[in-house]
């Protein structure tokens, strides 16, 4: 006959085994839940992705993008070799920003594709036009810039101290060193553009898409930011910038893509920015004459 202690011990062992089993099940369920959460809601988290300066070759193939039924781009094809620095130029409404947004993955093309040979979407960093950000939103400049490193900490983790340090440094570089705790609402247009550049720096993209990076800012800020862009070009990054100032394009951008819903001309800047091609793109004759 089993003694009561034995029975208790056996029962205890059984309960312990059951508990251990349940705990293993629960832990597995928690792990699966966490990974499902990450998969569905944190697609941008990629802490191990190496930040390489070797950019992929960007090819736009037969790209059509439409807003409702109105096409903004029709059958656009373009090549941006690694390390190239290209200005995207065209009249208002030509689809310049649309092209950048499609390459950045913000707009879905109706037809055609964007190929990144030797890389992926993670290599791309995008500088939006200032009015696409709600500048009245109560977020501090430091927090705003820290977001640039989203891939490092994703949707659910706190930003590591190292990233916060990087954000400070980037703010220092763009001349906003003292603005860490300031809300973005307090920044002037030029200051906010500097903050956008700082966030872009944290993204460490090998391909940089700049949508009107120098619009509506003073000459000093333009010079400072242009120096940054040239520095990135020298590091071997690929740069695509939507620009309006044709003189600026001629002086600083080796290649130009002239766009008016479709590609009008592409290649070395002096060949693209001729009066005849500009007129074909629908620029005013006066503009075209001034440019040539």
């Amino acid at each position: 006959m089993a003694r009561p202690e034995d029975r208790a011990a056996a029962g205890g062992g059984y309960a312990e085994a059951a508990w251990a089993l349940m705990r293993r099940r629960l832990e597995r369920a928690a792990r699966q839940g966490a990974s499902a959460l990450r998969r569905h809601f944190d697609g941008g988290y990629a802490p191990d992705a190496a930040a390489s300066v070797a950019p992929p070759a960007v090819s736009v193939v037969d790209l059509t993008v439409a807003y409702q039924r109105v096409p903004a781009l029709e059958s656009v094809g373009a090549e941006f070799p690694p390390g190239s620095m290209t200005a995207i130029v065209g009249p208002n409404g030509a689809g310049k920003s649309t092209l950048l947004k499609a390459i950045a993955g913000i707009l879905r093309p109706r037809a055609g594709s964007i190929l990144l040979a030797g890389g992926g979407p993670r290599d791309i960093a995008y500088l939006p036009q200032s009015d696409e950000v709600d500048r009245g939103f109560p977020v501090s400049v430091g927090d705003f810039v820290t977001l640039g490193r989203w891939r490092r900490y994703g949707a659910f983790r706190a930003a590591p101290a190292a990233v916060i340090g990087e954000a400070r440094q980037a703010l220092e570089t763009v001349g906003l060193g003292a603005a860490d705790d300031t809300p973005i609402a307090a920044l002037s247009v030029g200051q906010f553009r500097r903050a956008l550049f700082a966030r872009l720096m944290l993204q460490q993209g090998a391909v940089l898409l700049l949508d009107e990076p120098f619009a509506a800012i003073d000459a000093t800020t333009t010079q400072a930011l242009l120096r940054l862009v040239k520095g990135w070009h020298e590091q071997g990054r690929t740069i695509l910038a939507v620009l309006h100032d044709l003189d600026q394009v001629k002086r600083h951008f080796p290649r130009t893509l002239l766009l008016a819903h479709r590609v009008i001309a592409a290649g070395p800047t002096p060949e693209v920015l001729r009066a005849e091609t500009l007129a074909r793109a629908g620029f005013d004759i006066a503009d075209a004459a001034a440019a040539s």
Binding site: L37, F41, D42, G43, G44, Y45, Y67, Q68, K101, A104, G105, I106, P121, I124, Y126, P128, E132, V133, D134, F137, P138, V139, V141, L147, W150, R151, A155, F156, G175, L176, G177, A178, A179, T182, P183, A185, A186, L187, S188, G190, Q191, Q203, D218, T220, T221
Partner: protein
Amino acid sequence: MSGLEALLIEPFAAYGFMRTALVGLAALALANGPIGALLLLRRMSLVGDVLSHAVMPGAAFGFALAGYSLLVLSAGGMVTGLAVAALSSLAARNPAQRQDVNLAVFYLLSLAAGVLLVTAHGSNIDLMHVLFGTILAVGLPTLVLMALLASASTLILAALYRPLVVEAFDPGFLQAVSGGGNIYRLIFLALVVLDLVAGFQAFGTLLAVGPLLLPAAAARCWTRRILPTMALSAALGLAAGYAGLLASYFLNLPSGPAIVLAGGALYLASLPAARYRPDLARPPGVPA
């Protein structure tokens, strides 16, 4: 018992329905605070209004089917609320369409359809219940449902806090960096619907948006930072609920409107504070 105690505590000590109402209002205030703050920050107060009306036809349909069944009413309201949230999210992609017209049209249609449905199957008193709620008639099952819905919306907001906030001011960045832009807008609207369904038993479809917007609007006057706005908004919501309940008890007023008016009074009292905006001072030593 001192006079103050008789004024502030005695009604709740004496009556169970007052205690239940207060607990329900506390649950609502905690959930509404953060969501309402985010709703205002996104400049979507009109959308909140419309979603609260979107709950009406579904709730009315539930009433026509099953009378005062808590679950059927709430499930019906949830279904139409979520459907409209999804529709408005789709429509927001199309910049050509005039959003405000659609919303105004929808607002009117759902109110009319809801009233029609309720009066076809019930009395004017039923209609008053659906439109204005009955916080003092909230029983234990309703309280539990309110608390569950409020907890769910708060937990989801907490879990998805960063993408929800970033989507509010820079959707393009979120889409570029994480690939899930539109889904977060939809999730946020769903959270608003959760809160509205939680509140509609107490406030009715016409007033459920009041406890969502008014405390948040008052809190925005005192602080501009996000987390303090959310916390203060929850606290002010609870204060408005408490004050409104007492007013309705002593002055024999309908409780829902009294609580909404108390929230409005808090907002008006907070307005002068909004003039001081030290946060808009330019940072020192930074080139303009």
